[in-house]
């Protein structure tokens, strides 16, 4: 095969708007290639301009169709859009049919739209990182809005949704477990509720259920999440969803919350990078010594305990040196 293009060259090309380079950079991010760090450092100064909207919810709620229609609405305002669509992989083969794109193919003839499908792969917590870096790539390419679609189950999906400025939670009526899914920790991160398939007889019941759940919250919210009804497949309600999204953005900007959230996110990112390095450069190598293996055997035989051994790797505060 052809030799790999140097990272710096790829970054230059993607910053100049080359889609091929962008696609390849995202692959390197997904493959966790060794040059990801230098790529991301090259890209970072050009980011911070895109508004990131997370679209999440249970399977079958109609997220991809909502995204497809939202692209149409946002494109009408002239903004360029990047889309990251995350789909689960088969737990059996590791393979995946990344199907979200099918609903959005009509936008493939529009150069103002860049759609990237992402499998959850085996990434152990790396999925959120890969998705976040992909958002940064699209941001650096000048896409003004980035939509991130994830299935709202599982920790890493929640983490991805957490990287968005505005999170829209899509549910459908008549699924029975729709509201159950909301209760499982995702309620708190939703800035907008979308009841899709709102032509269903149970739609108003679902709206009422969500309203009830919101009323039961103990801590008052500065922003009360609106509930938007859509019938995405018939293009209904999407303008309203986009208006609500922009209102949420205005709220974030006016209250200073946008800056605050983004700052906290960057702090978390710095810690995550440092944590990764600590693990790879200090913690993991420390288990490879013979001394450690002997200590481990002593722990197994209950002659010492895990805390005492951990003290040797990272001293407890106040204990002084090793």
């Amino acid at each position: 095969m052809a030799t790999e293009t140097p990272a710096g060259e790829l970054v230059d090309r993607l910053l100049a708007g080359n889609r091929r380079a962008a696609g390849q950079v995202i692959s390197r991010i997904e493959d966790e290639s060794p040059d990801v760090e230098s790529i991301m450092r090259g890209i970072f100064p050009h980011t911070g301009n895109a508004y990131v909207v997370g679209i999440t919810g249970p399977p079958g709620a109609g997220k991809s169709t909502v995204v497809d229609e939202l692209i149409r609405v946002i494109r009408a305002s002239g903004k360029r859009i990047g889309v990251v669509a995350v789909d689960p992989n088969s737990p059996f083969s590791g393979g995946a049919i990344l199907g979200d794109r099918i609903r959005m193919m009509r936008h493939s003839s529009d150069t103002g739209v860049f759609i990237r499908s992402m499998g959850a792969r085996g990434h152990l917590g790396g999925l959120a990182l890969a998705a976040r870096n992909t958002i940064l790539v699209l941001d650096a390419m000048g896409f003004e809005v980035v939509l991130v679609e994830t299935v709202g189950v599982g920790q890493s999906e929640l983490e991805i949704a957490g990287t968005a400025d505005t999170v829209a939670l899509v549910v459908a009526p008549g699924m029975g477990d729709g509201v159950q899914a909301i209760k499982a920790g995702i309620m708190e991160i939703a800035d907008i509720f979308v009841v899709n398939k709102a032509d269903h007889p149970q739609a108003n019941k679902t709206v009422a259920d969500i309203r009830d759940l919101l009323r039961m919250e103990i801590a008052p919210r500065a922003w009360t999440p609106p509930i938007v009804k859509t019938v995405a497949i018939r293009n209904e309600g999407l303008e309203d969803l986009w208006i609500r999204t922009r209102q949420h953005r205005q709220y974030l900007e006016r209250s200073g919350e946008l800056e605050n959230r983004r700052k906290l996110r960057l702090e978390a990112e710095i810690l995550e990078i440092a944590d990764r390095r600590l693990r790879e450069q200090v913690l993991e190598p420390s288990t490879e010594t013979e001394e450690f293996q002997q200590l481990l055997d002593r722990v197994v035989h209950r002659e010492t305990d895990p805390y005492a051994v951990a003290d040797r790797i990272v001293p407890r505060p106040g204990l002084g040196g090793v």
């Binding site: 095969m1 052809a2 790999e4 080359n18 889609r19 091929r20 962008a22 696609g23 390849q24 995202i26 692959s27 390197r28 997904e30 493959d31 966790e32 290639s33 060794p34 040059d35 992989n89 088969s90 059996f92 083969s93 590791g94 393979g95 995946a96 049919i97 990344l98 199907g99 794109r101 099918i102 193919m105 009509r106 493939s108 003839s109 860049f114 759609i115 990237r116 499908s117 499998g119 792969r121 085996g122 990434h123 790396g126």
Partner: protein
Amino acid sequence: MAQQGRYRILMAKAGLDGHDRGVKVVSRALRDAGMEVIYTGLHQTPEQVVRAAIDEDVDAVGLSLLSGAHMTIFPRILDLLRQEGGGDILLFGGGTIPEDDVLTLKQMGVAELFTPGASTVDIVDWVRAHVGRPTEASAGR
């Protein structure tokens, strides 16, 4: 830790062809072989197929054609891939394609064509043997 590079394949239907049972069967077989498969759905233009291939940075495009338009659509996709800097993305295909046309298309640069009777095992094996990226991506470590 480096993630093992994974095969990414775009499975496509282009033009007026409305038969997608075959392409779905092959997509499923590739998925079961551990690959990431992106399916375009029916009635795509060559431009849409190539845009998807570039943005998704796939290793190969598998085009299914049962409409008889293979002598138009395969060369068009090859051209567009080259124009977009994706000349290294393999194009393979399947469908009801006469032997003479198979030879001509292969001379033009279509990597392989599977005609009725080809087994999914053969297709999966061919993709594994001819798509080189995954080993290359992990060789960097």
